[in-house]
Symmetry: C2
Subunit: 636 residues, 2 copies
């Protein structure tokens, strides 16, 4: 099989009733808000100072560094997201303002290529002396991602050249025959792979490979580093090797451990490297970790990182709905990684996870208004407990305003604005379509117009205008929940056989202009049961329809959701939602039972249950109607 | 009604098939072990240094203070427990060794009466300057309890005089017209009330009253105190007023809050004061707090203090089985308090709670071998999760050795050895028997021999030998779970009517020597349901028989207890247990269902269940057969 390649963002222009409003919200609300935050122009918002730090490091103004040691990454993430915005919604004014920011970033870069305003302003003598906590390579990795995005969107090399000089500088310090070093927070690996993808220059891939392969080879590295220095940024424990995935060389890791965002950033870079280099054994290492997560560490919403302690993966099968950490950024990272896996091998499970995260546990991080965000995406919330008691203080029952939550909003922004990239891969003879998102895509083989009723109906139409007279294959991802015999595929209205392999329908033919491929499948409500190994959900059921997972909220179902049961034989009806929030989506109605309340704490009389009508709404919309209880899992 | 009085421990000599072995275990294993720990004679045990601290403060040896700021209390608790031991199991050698310890304690007391080895040795200039954290009044309170016990057991005034001088010294500093002050950890109030009970001297009661009434009247006291000092023992937050019950004057407190042990020590002192002074409004304040706990904050095992954060009461109805703190000491304190409540008003609910805690969540703190102990008494344990993951690190799946756990073993020791005191109260015309524990009791009205088949059978016999020809009333506590019409009361074999009032059967008559009162009631297995307001146990059931709550362990029921359900119509059979651990108790057998295991994390096929036989064992015996899962609550 010839190599599978991602597409460039400019190739896909979304026009989708579900996702286009999200992109517009990000472009019109999230990005401008973040820009103002970076400039400290939002009254009442927590001070960012991120751009001021760059101006100070650039010698453009006087002042002190302010913020976290990784404050620079906020500017980088904004530049990356704004670049994606330019690629799909050209905006000369935004482009001009970005050029101004990039000019400052350029000036802040030191003459040797080093770029980190914290260490430049505050502790120049401590450069690269605290890789565990210093986040220099992390910030520069993000700036490399921004640079690649900016270059792809605009063709301008201004930020790309900053990134090139950075890479040179880092390369002059670390690498074979030079200093051994790995970052405490992975990201430089992703940044270097993005530079490679944008420029095609082999040396960036090789350098990414160095950082990836070096990890875990010297497990005492962070402890030795700490002994050599007489300062600390955070006073982290350098012997917590799980936390930053340095407990073993990456090819020997068989269990996803530690900080979930760090982990999936690393795994993504590994998968990118495997795809670019054709290194099958590295891909297999990714696959082992992937399977571990899917078998033992994945919430039914696609969320990962169950533990509120250090934002980490918990032990196998520990997936408490009410104590979940499930950071928005971790799910965003999981989408990134899944796409990179698809660029190694087209397997439906990767696209399924992209779908699951996209329609559920990523966008659940954002309020419908685009100005309130969750870090934490629990599957059960009980106001008065969540956010308040021990072990659950991280689980907020309502989304706080952006300014309290700096990492997840820009991560969501860059995902949503670059969504087109996640829809396609191409190889020599095949066009892979991974997501059913309405758009027009300019691919090497063809222009393809996609019209989609997803996620509410199983109906998608591909209008193909070939650019070649050669045969090529259109490989359509068939969601994993669709039965092998329950879909209908047609070409120009006529039923069409196609090979179904690993979750993709392969349709090979010589194409004519305006050939129409249509895929239809029923969208039935699915009752989902967890393995009984997961203690917290035993005896309970969750509901999904298509890619959308549902939840029960107090707003529809009254108080004390724990009193509800959904009998196994209850029929569940999908109906159009009502009200501003729900009018464009499908909600579920069903007969349920409610256990009666009792004053006595304990009693010997069995509970009495009465019939009630239950309503489930899409999980991603929870928490938009004021403070109330929410549960994904309900007793059956 | 004439005043109700507790009895002195020497009046009751236990001979009970359930409790006597516990007392012997404490006397033969726990007390000697603790004595050696205090003397640093256990190899491998954590250094105590507690007696060495006293010797250093006494000028008997050179050295530095070592240990916690409240290290002195370990010596006091041992002296108290050992005194109870002397009262019921005379032992001249132990008495002699205690005299030697008391002589050291006497010498360590400063000339003005102050006694605290930490401040005497380490920071004499900081005496009483950090009442929030310093624990001086706490340690002295425990020494007062020890003194009262020692005096009651031996008639010797050596330690009593130490306590008297302490009280004088404290009284010279704090009180009306002197310094305002309350301790950060209540206990001095209990100690002073015990001194009052032992000596009858009014001033001790008045002084206890001062500390009780002062609490919460000046909520900013601890913060002001902190501002005045330039040192900290622990750097506690002085504004956490809930933690030490200083958020309001005690008579205005309506919700049990904060550190559970602190709370019940305070409530006990309040109840003791109310009983001794006849202050009905103070008793009502206790009653409000009591009702709050029983209605919203009590585990089905009698445990309290659900939160692992600061060992505290959680919010109402937050009673997670798997995250429980439920400290052994809190339940011990609850028994103490319940008895003090009985000395105000004979209500069956107080005796019921004593029973519930005694047969379940106090003794669950001790391994059958008497050398391993729990602080934390969870209602669900999952090895690999409990003790390991965030929010559950405090929940250990096995009892650690004593030395890691200094406060609960001596607290259990003093409770178990003084159990006789909790069996009786007397007023002018009534003898109250609260617990069905086999013994011979010398009471003001009569000698009463109790033979009891409790807790395994509902059969108890009282052989009364009156000391008076006057009529008097024997008031027998009828456990709250016994139906009003399902017991049989006989006198000398003949059915006897008796007034049942607030959980006591009042049997008034002129007694003849060897009159035999017998009470019998059926012991049926009870299914207990929690109010649905408690989220974590909704849809589940717990089992009890008599006062004993049951649990399911992996040892009997295989792995993954969360896979089990107990159908509502399943018959439950009580049978004699088998094997060394269970041979003397009743275990429960029943048909249940086990959900089949599945590899897939999520699936759409409903769970399949197969019939299995389930076994439940008494909760207090859990964790004695190696590492395994345990649950009190099981899905119904």
């Amino acid at each position: 099989m010839s190599a599978i390649k991602p597409i460039s963002l400019k190739q896909a222009k979304l026009d989708d009733s579900f996702w286009t409003p999200y992109q517009k919200l990000v472009k019109q609300v999230v990005l401008p808000y973040q820009e103002k935050v970076l400039n400290d122009e939002i009254p009442g918002a927590e001070k960012s100072h991120a751009l001021a730090n760059f101006r100070i490091a650039a010698g453009l103004e006087e002042g002190e560094f302010y913020g976290m040691v990784f404050q620079d990454s906020d500017v980088a993430k904004w530049l990356e997201a704004a670049s994606y915005s330019l690629a799909v919604y050209p905006d000369p004014e935004l482009e001009h303002r970005m050029d101004e920011v990039i000019a400052i970033v350029e000036k802040a870069q030191q003459s040797d290529g080093y770029l980190d305003t914290y260490f430049t302003i505050k502790e120049p003598e401590h450069r690269y002396m605290d890789l565990l906590e210093g986040h220099e390579l992390y910030c520069m990795g993000h700036m490399m991602e921004a640079a690649a995005a900016h270059y792809e969107a605009t063709g301008k090399e201004s930020l790309l050249n900053v990134a090139r000089r950075m890479a040179e500088q880092i390369g002059s310090v670390f690498g074979p025959g030079k200093r051994y070093g790995i970052p405490g927070h992975e990201e430089i690996e992703v940044g270097l792979m993005r530079l490679y993808q944008a420029t095609g220059e082999q040396k960036y891939m090789e350098f990414a490979s160095y950082f990836i392969e070096a990890r875990g080879k010297k497990p005492e590295f962070f402890a030795e580093e700490k002994e050599k220095r007489d300062f600390d940024v955070f006073d982290m424990d350098p012997r917590n090797l799980d936390y930053n995935q340095s407990f073993a060389p990456v090819r020997e890791q068989t269990s996803a451990k530690g900080h979930a965002v760090r982990a999936v950033y690393l795994y993504r870079a590994m998968a990118d490297l495997a795809a670019a280099s054709g290194d099958g054994t590295l891909y297999q290492a990714c696959r082992t970790l992937w399977k571990d997560i899917l078998a033992k560490k994945l919430y039914v919403t696609g969320a990962i990182g169950a533990s509120g302690e250090l934002e980490s993966f918990s032990v196998d099968y520990d997936l408490p709905p009410d104590r979940a950490y499930a950071e928005t950024c971790a799910q965003v990272g999981l989408v990134f990684w899944a796409k990179s896996m698809l660029d190694n091998e087209p397997r439906g499970e990767y696209a399924d996870i992209m779908e699951l995260c996209l329609y559920n546990s990523t966008i659940s991080g954002m309020q419908a208004d685009g100005t309130h965000f969750f870090y934490v995406n629990p599957l059960e919330v009980n106001p008065g407990i969540s956010g308040e008691v021990f072990g659950m203080r991280h689980v907020l029952p309502e989304r706080p305003g952006w300014y309290q939550c700096a990492c997840c909003p820009p991560n969501l922004a860059r995902l949503l604005l670059s969504l087109g990239k996640y829809c396609w891969s191409e190889s020599g003879d095949t066009v892979y379509t991974h997501l059913m998102i309405g758009q027009t895509a300019q691919l090497a083989h063809a222009e393809i117009r996609v019209e989609s009723a997803y996620p509410w109906e199983g109906r998608v139409k591909y209008t193909v205008t070939p650019k070649t007279e050669e045969e090529f294959c259109l490989a359509i991802h068939l969601p994993g929940y669709v039965g092998k015999d329950s879909f209908v595929l047609t070409v120009n209205g006529k039923p069409q056989e196609a090979e179904l392999r690993d979750g993709y329908l392969y349709l090979k033919r010589r194409w004519n202009a305006e050939d129409v491929v249509a895929l239809e499948f029923p969208m039935e409500v699915r009752r989902l049961y967890g393995t009984v190994r997961v203690r917290d959900t035993a005896g309970q059921v969750a509901l999904a329809r298509g890619p959308v997972v549902y939840c029960f909220e107090g707003a529809d179902n009254g108080p004390m959701l724990q009193a509800l049961t959904l009998p196994r034989d209850s029929e569940i009806t999908a109906v159009k939602g009502e009200g501003e929030l729900l009018k464009d989506c499908v909600v579920l109605k069903m007969d349920g039972l409610r256990e009666s309340d009792s004053d006595a704490l304990y009693r010997t009389t069995p509970p009495v249950r009465e019939k009630v009508t239950l309503t489930a709404i899409p999980y991603y919309l929870w928490g938009n109607r004021g403070l109330n209880q929410m549960r994904v899992w309900i007793r059956e």
